[in-house]
């Protein structure tokens, strides 16, 4: 994946499986968000093959967008729309029916029920992150892409995000979670991919990253 002269992601080989949560770990600028944007169909790959739930991202972009739920790394909210209007837009474009109850339930779980009719421009960073996770999960996507969902989020929001990930795993969805917070990643995911300089440098079970030993191994992979 190139942006002009900059090669953001190269030689990455990622396989994530149904019913599993995989963490993408790495330092800032490692290429995690670019990878997520490509998988979400937001940025087209300049080279290579990317398939999401069996669909080629280049030729079947709309099908990929139908199947994915994406929480972007920055913002992710239209500033002058309310949370409910975001949900309405997503539900209508995905041809969902009877989604209102699930939408309300998710907003309540993320403690956003009392601001569902307020424009998001005045939301705090953490509120925005929580709503982005709600929007990604609302339509129960087959592939859930969460980019930095814990960034600036309070413990209740973190727990609610864990629940969303657990629900998605239980119904057989594939989850990719991009973060630089190792502790939270290994709590939520079964496997870990470590990226550095736009390339994958390790793919291990989450257990291998736990404790002091895991922290040392992670540090070694980052440098």
């Amino acid at each position: 994946m190139r942006f002009g002269e900059v090669e953001a992601v190269a030689g990455i080989d990622v396989q994530a499986y149904a019913g599993q949560a995989t963490a993408l770990l790495g330092r800032n600028g490692a290429g995690k968000s670019t990878t997520m944007r490509v998988l979400a169909g937001v940025v087209p790959p300049t080279e290579g093959l990317v398939t999401v739930a069996g669909h080629d991202i280049r030729t079947e972009t709309l099908a990929v967008k139908q199947l994915t739920g994406y929480c972007p790394d920055v913002g992710g909210l239209v500033p002058r729309a309310t949370p409910w209007e975001h949900l309405q837009l997503s539900a209508r474009l995905r041809r969902m029916t009877d989604w209102e109850e699930r939408g309300r339930d998710l907003l309540e779980r993320f403690e956003l029920g009392d601001v569902m009719n307020r424009v998001t421009g005045g939301f705090s960073h953490g509120m925005g992150r929580r709503l982005s996770v709600v929007l990604a999960a609302m339509h129960e996507p087959r592939v859930l892409l969460l980019d930095e969902p814990f960034d600036g989020v309070d413990p209740i929001g973190v727990e609610a995000t864990f629940d969303v990930i657990a629900d998605a795993r239980a119904r057989g969805a594939t989850i990719l979670l991009s973060t630089h917070l190792r502790d939270l990643a290994i709590q939520a995911c079964g496997s870990v991919l470590v990226m550095r300089g736009g390339a994958r440098v390790a793919a291990v079970d989450a257990e291998a990253m736990t404790g002091e030993e895991g922290a040392r191994a992670y540090r070694a992979l980052l440098d």
Binding site: R37, A40, G41, V42, V43, P44, T61, L62, A63, K65, Q66, T68, Y70, C71, P72, V74, G75, G76, L77, V78, P79, R80, A81, T82, W84, E85, H86, Q88, L89, S90, A91, R92, L93, R94, N117, R118, V119, T120, G121, G122, S132, L135
Partner: protein, 519 residues
């Protein structure tokens, strides 16, 4: 820009010496910020060329009309000469209105970007003053005044006259800024929104009463600009020197005085923006079509934004009132749609994809054809510009009476052609040059100042040219001429818009826009 005093200001803000030091620091900060913004200019050679062209054009406009046939004569030149004091007052009124609408003028650096730095409200005030002339509306006003002065006054003592006119422009800009910051501090205070709206209504009513009772000419004869104008045309006399000193002292005082309401406003919460950002909107039924839903979402993004609401109000009402007070005939009314549509596009249209802000990444993941997104955005921009233009024409019609068939045909054709022209250009630029802008502040613009000058100049040239052609058509006694001329114009603009729509469907081009606006 800052919403409260910086902690670094406190030690220097006590006593006269402290105030002088703070003012000096503010001036230095403006230079630093200006250089910082200048570094981001993409095509510097083009910018230098534009600056050079601006100086040359200004000099040409200030001198050449004095040597044209009919200059300083008894006919049209004399009529213009008599109108000059009113024109000077009009420039002052326009500067005040535009500065109030933009909440104290434009930002040298946006509020969010400035937040981590110790930038004082004085710097903010001075920065807005520096940016004020970087606006095609300001430039056109200045050029009209200088050109009218040269043509009506002739070459004798022209230098002295133009010096006074230039100083008047500076004075009008600085005074406009003081009034704007004062209004902004009132608006941010207790009952501020009610007070400012009440003042606006009172002003409108007073203007209406003056007009309806036929006292407009009496009022214009008594405005103090006449004194400055007499000073301008008096050659090297005492009055010229007095006018010069009064304007210099007045401008300097206004620059210094502007810091006071700016500091007051900075200590208060921007109520309009805060209200918009915490507004509640009850859910409405989902529209039946996807396009309808996208249009509704985009429409909400436009009408819930403070700069767009204020801007469109000024744009729609201002030229309409000028048409009423100037007794503009229907044949000349064709100039209005182009003016209003160009101004409206500069509120958000030239960077139309910035409406989604950081939500652009999420929206792009929604399963909807790219063409639907384009159609919705182009439609919302069109209706925004059309609404503003129609309000202006409606106000102008209050005095112009009923148009005949030829005038109506010319006006409708102008409206359609300039709308398509402006929407096409806006969508094209939005795709080619996206900028990350959130349009939260009343002072925000959709692109950096230099880019805005370029956009506004290009829009002004193309729409004015179109308007003048149809204005000429309105004087030809056949309504079909306007229609015949409009068809190729509409086809040309339509083809260009369709080409932009095709480019938008390229995922690479779209990704560049989305990642830039969401940055």
């Amino acid at each position: 820009m800052p919403t409260a005093l910086s902690s670094t200001e406190t030690p220097t803000s006590n006593g006269a010496r402290g105030r002088v030091a703070a003012a000096r620091r503010a001036v230095e900060d403006v230079a630093i910020l200006f250089r910082f913004r200048a570094q981001a200019v993409r095509r510097r050679h083009l910018t230098r060329g534009l600056v050079g062209s601006f100086v040359l054009v200004t000099l040409a406009i200030a001198i050449v009309p004095a040597f044209l046939p009919g200059a300083q004569g008894a006919g049209k030149a004399f009529d213009i000469f008599l109108l000059m004091p009113s024109a000077m007052a009009g420039i002052l009124a326009l500067n005040v209105a535009s500065a109030i609408a933009s909440g104290g003028g434009r930002e040298l650096i946006s509020r969010d970007q400035a937040a981590p730095y110790p930038i004082s409200p004085t710097t903010d005030h001075l920065g807005a003053l520096v940016l004020a002339p970087l606006n095609i509306a300001w430039m056109i006003q200045a050029w009209i005044l200088l050109g009218a002065m040269a043509y009506s006054f002739g070459p004798t003592n022209l230098f002295q006259a133009q010096v006074v006119i230039l100083l008047w422009l500076v004075f009008a800009t600085t005074l406009g800024q003081v009034v704007a910051w004062t209004m902004e501090s009132v608006r941010r205070g207790p009952f501020g929104i009610g007070i400012s709206r009440g003042l606006l209504v009172c002003l409108g009513l007073a203007a209406g009463v003056v007009q309806l009772t036929g006292h407009t000419t009496d009022l214009l004869d008594q405005i103090p600009t006449l004194w400055f104008f007499q000073g301008a045309v008096g050659g090297w006399g005492l009055r010229w020197w007095v006018a010069l000193v009064v304007l210099l002292v007045g401008s300097t005082t206004a620059v210094a005085a502007g810091a006071v309401p700016t500091h007051l406003a900075a200590r208060r919460m921007p109520r309009d923006e805060a209200r918009m950002e915490t507004d509640q909107h009850e859910p409405r039924p989902v529209p039946r079509t996807v396009l309808g839903l996208l249009i509704r979402a985009d429409r909400a993004s436009v009408w819930r934004s403070v700069p767009m609401r204020r801007g469109v109000l000024v744009l729609a009402i201002g030229p309409g009132l000028v048409a009423v007070f100037g007794n503009l005939p229907w044949s000349s009314m064709t100039i209005l749609p182009g003016l209003v549509a160009s101004g409206g596009a500069l509120l958000f249209g030239v960077n139309a994809w910035c409406l989604d802000g950081r939500g652009a990444l999420w929206r792009e993941n929604l399963p909807v054809p790219a063409s639907a997104l384009f159609d919705a955005r182009a439609w919302v921009l069109t209706e925004f510009l059309a609404a503003a233009s129609l309000i202006t024409i409606g106000i102008g019609a209050l005095r112009a009476g009923l148009p005949d068939g030829v005038e109506l045909s010319a006006l409708v054709c102008t409206l359609l052609v300039v709308l398509l022209q402006v929407v096409g250009a806006s969508m094209r630029w939005s795709l080619a040059h996206p900028y990350p802008v959130d349009l939260r502040s009343a002072r925000a613009t959709p692109a950096p100042p230099a880019a805005m000058v370029g956009y506004s100049a290009r829009l002004a040239v193309s729409t004015t040219f179109t308007s003048l052609i149809f204005s000429a058509c309105a004087k030809v006694p056949d309504w079909r001429l306007s229609v015949i001329l409009a068809i190729p114009c509409l086809l040309w603009s339509g083809v260009r818009l369709a080409r932009t729509a095709r480019r938008w469907q390229d995922p690479v081009a779209r990704a560049l826009v989305i990642t830039t606006t969401a940055a």
